[in-house]
Symmetry: C2
Subunit: 191 residues, 2 copies
């Protein structure tokens, strides 16, 4: 006789994300997730292969949200100058990271191989930046340019989240300075 479902994969992933953000990665235990969704820990394994798998699902969900956010920004003003659009994208990534720092970090530094998001979802979240990079640097250099912009963005935000900017100075201004330099450097019109 079937038992009525007492939870769902969605609820588990959502609970995991909340827990990750409020308690950090070490607080994301199967027990804690089970408590949140009102089930015993072993029951989670009906919907999730392992804790690593749960972490991967959280990464995947976060990545999808980021991709949606960036798509919205990119398509908001399709006519705007590509330098401005790249700048807006970079600011959107930073705002997203600040709204959920733990989940953001998870995307870019998975604690294990099995918890890394799939190449497909990574590619999807890079689409908006790739398209602006193509406009800026031209089709031949689009991939390299997108990588340069993405590397700088994730590097800056990663250092910021890790508390790496303790030499003083205005971090917001450093971000603005950086994105302006990067955008100009990638702009083929500038030569």
């Amino acid at each position: 006789m079937p038992t009525p479902d007492r939870t769902s994969l969605d609820e588990i992933v959502r609970a995991g994300r909340d827990l990750l953000e409020s308690e950090g990665l070490s607080g994301l235990s199967m027990q804690a997730v089970a408590d949140r969704v009102g089930v015993r820990a072993p029951s989670l394994y009906k919907r999730v292969r392992s804790r690593d798998d749960l972490i991967r699902l959280i990464s995947e969900a976060t990545l999808a949200e980021l991709a949606a956010r960036l798509d919205a920004v990119a398509s908001a003003e399709p006519q705007a100058d590509p330098v401005d659009r790249l700048t807006q994208l970079a600011h959107a990534v930073r705002a997203f990271a600040r709204s959920g720092p733990e989940a953001y970090r998870l995307m870019f530094s998975p604690p294990s191989e099995g918890s890394a998001a799939s190449p497909e979802s990574i590619a999807r979240s890079a689409a908006a930046i790739l398209s602006v990079a193509a406009e800026l640097a031209g089709p031949d250099d689009a991939l390299d340019a997108a990588r340069t912009a993405t590397a700088w963005t994730t590097g800056f935000i990663g250092m910021e989240l890790a508390g790496g900017f303790r030499l003083g100075g205005d971090v917001d201004q450093a971000y603005a300075y950086g994105i302006a330099r990067i955008a100009a450097a990638l702009d083929r019109r500038a030569g």
Copy 2:
């Protein structure tokens, strides 16, 4: 009656680093470290406050090594063009990261607050880059320029180590492309 020392802090940190590199962060257990140095796990707490503290010590040691490496590169050809020197520094960081990827990742994404390296040692490892950045961008923009270069470098390498470059293309070439663009963008002589 005192017992002769059966291990030392240095040996523990070294064993921890080896273990980290060969087994990953999750393989870096107090038990495994104790086995390596020939002691029982509780004895480690005579020299180390906690596992987090051991991780911090490993980060600190790695950071000191990186700083020494970069100092050596920076002072090898003091007369060279700053663009070339920044390029060499960037390549040195990447080579260092590849020689010990797990320890490298630890420096830039500490798994917890207590395992982060001290601001002082971070500042020390940034000295070489800061000095080239000052030459390139001028004293007023030195800090912002150093942050831009560092963010790009750590971001690129972090993505590479996380396996984030699966869209194809030549990653070595993307690195060369990026550092050339960044160096040119920071160079005030180019304007």
